[in-house]
């Protein structure tokens, strides 16, 4: 699948991207190309810069050097108005849904429509109900506040909100983190259904291998810079879900199997060091 899609025009191109916060480098020399319609999972351990990469794609984080191109345009060179316009072509599902506490579920889902098409209020409700049905939530939740919802429901409302503008690209930040296995699988199914119903390109940041294996056409693994040698690529793996199973890279294999490996030795060394001090 990934092979056939690689022939398509890339909708997102990342070229020699570097991101730093103060003196801390988070991303180093990342280059990636995402063809339209592909579902890409970015995996890696906590702190490797997955979320930062996702936020850089949509222009929430500015690169230190390098660039992200969306549909042929460099995101960092857009004016505020152009960026606002381009962002309506994205849907972003945040890790903890990031629903607005002060609004009801209905107001949350219809927020992008009210923001960009304030004169078409009549169409908003129809669109909102369609998205709510798509994520399998009852209409009774519409009047509730985010604080009254469970974690899984909040994620689904977040997905409905991300879908309301019929985006071309969906960005998911840890969509299954903090959910029980059943609700996690519900979210996985929803992501797959969304892709079937809408011709979207999806980028899923996750450390849940089940999600990556089930939903993605292609998997990219990032590694924390602090653990890499100078000049070593931060992308440890780029291939299909089948290929990752057969990988010979010890660090990739360790991650997909969830083994602590040399981290245990590191922990013991740190503990010993602490005792000496």
């Amino acid at each position: 699948m990934a092979v056939s899609q690689s022939n398509r025009e890339p909708i997102i191109e990342i070229d020699s991207l570097n991101v730093s916060f103060g003196r801390q480098d988070v991303l180093r020399n990342i280059s990636l190309s995402v063809p339209a319609g592909q579902t890409l999972a970015i995996i890696g351990e906590s702190g490797c810069g997955k979320t930062v990469l996702l936020k850089t794609i949509i222009g929430l984080v500015r690169p230190s050097s390098g660039f992200v191109k969306f549909d042929g345009q460099r995101i960092d060179q857009l004016t505020d108005q152009e960026l606002t316009q381009e962002r309506t072509r994205f849907g972003f599902v945040f890790q903890n849904a990031a629903l607005f506490d002060s609004m009801t579920v209905a107001e949350n889902i219809s927020f992008p429509l009210r923001q960009h098409h304030p004169d078409q209020r009549a169409a908003h409700e129809e669109s909102m109900l369609a998205r709510l049905a798509e994520v399998g939530l009852p209409t009774a939740v519409l009047r509730k506040r985010p604080a009254e919802l469970s974690g899984g429901m909040r994620k689904r409302v977040g997905l409905a909100r991300a879908l309301i503008m019929k985006p071309e690209v969906l960005l998911y930040d840890e969509p299954t983190t903090g959910l029980d296995p059943i609700v996690s699988d519900v979210i996985n199914e929803l992501m797959m259904r969304t892709r079937k119903k809408n011709p979207v390109t999806s980028i899923i940041v996750t450390h849940d291998m089940k999600t990556a294996q089930k939903v993605a056409d292609r998997i990219v693994m990032l590694y924390p810079l602090a653990r890499l040698a100078a000049g070593e690529s931060q992308i440890l793996f780029d291939g299909t879900p089948d290929e990752i199973e057969r990988t010979k890279d010890r660090r990739v294999a360790q991650f997909i199997r969830g083994e602590a490996g040399d981290r245990l030795m590191e922990m013991n060394e740190n503990a010993e060091e602490g005792m000496v001090i």
């Binding site: 103060g22 606002t84 903890n96 629903l99 992008p112 923001q115």
Partner: protein, 290 residues
């Protein structure tokens, strides 16, 4: 907007570093302050730009006006009343020693109109509303709600800061007038009913020392104070550090920094407005009295 540059203390290396390190640390503090000031100026500029480019929605503006203005009225009125009475208590014995107790109204009213009214209303607003705004926006920052706004093509400054800034700016004059009015009433009530000062003389002397300019003087100051509270509190919320501690710090620093700026501004505005008055009305008898 913040560049996030860290100026870490340098490790002490040799005898000479004992002398150079404090200078380096001082330089780091100065650089950090300049960076924050520049960042805050950019924030204020963006807020003004969005304010002029597009007015906020009526719903957002009314909700903030209610929270900031209407709900602050009782506390401003109450503190204003008591400050007026406290002024009467503190001044009475000294004025009485010179037989000038009927002049108390002039002192209380002029102080309320020019100083205590605007500063009191601003302090209450910074404490009640500024901290709450910083905490609310800080929580929104920490829980990625501000990022969510941006990702949906809504500008957070236009959507979150402009309505709060505008509400502070538009409603602080009303709160100041309320504080002044209640202070005048409180001071008069205390003098007339508890200190038994003759109401006719009290009232006549009050009018002698206070004119419309004094009310305008307080209102002009309050507009600057309102703008300060709106900008500083929203800036602190937007630049909140992660976690509950970060939100707490944002709320505290919003109040402390607003208050410090208000007091410093108060001095400069007083000097400036006195100069404006003497320029506009050089022969006014108030200049001789005041």
């Amino acid at each position: 907007m913040s560049t996030g540059i860290e100026y870490a203390p340098r490790p002490r290396r040799n005898v000479l570093s004992v002398l150079t390190d404090p200078i380096a640390d001082l330089g780091a503090v100065v650089l950090r302050s300049i960076e924050t000031l520049g960042d805050m100026t950019l924030f204020a500029w963006q807020t003004l730009r969005w304010l002029l480019a597009r007015l906020p929605s009526r719903d957002a503006l009314y909700t903030n006006m209610y929270q900031i203005g209407v709900l602050s009225l009782p506390v401003v009125a109450l503190t204003g009343t008591f400050i007026g009475m406290v002024l009467a208590v503190q001044s009475y014995s000294q004025f009485r020693a010179f037989g000038l107790e009927t002049q108390l109204g002039g002192v209380i009213n002029r102080t309320m109109f020019r100083e205590l009214g605007p500063v009191l209303a601003a302090t209450m607003l910074a404490g009640r509303v500024g901290s709450a705004m910083a905490a609310e926006l800080g929580t929104m920052r920490v829980t990625e709600q501000i990022d969510a706004l941006s990702s949906m093509g809504a500008n957070p400054i236009h959507f979150l800061v402009v309505p709060r800034f505008l509400s502070c700016l538009l409603l602080i004059p009303s709160l100041t007038i309320m504080a002044v009015f209640m202070g005048v009433v409180g001071g008069a009530a205390y003098c007339v009913f508890l200190l038994n000062i003759d109401v006719h003389h009290y009232s006549a002397n009050s009018k002698l020392y206070v004119e419309n300019w004094d009310l305008l003087y307080g209102v002009i100051k309050s507009v600057f104070f309102g703008a300060t509270i709106g900008l500083v509190s929203c800036y602190r919320g937007f630049h909140c550090k992660a976690g509950a501690e970060g939100v707490g710090q944002a709320a505290t620093s919003a109040f402390v920094q607003s208050f410090v700026v208000i007091i410093v501004l108060d001095l400069f505005l007083s000097i400036m407005l006195d100069n404006v008055y003497s320029y506009l009305w050089p022969t006014s008898p108030m200049l001789l009295n005041g």
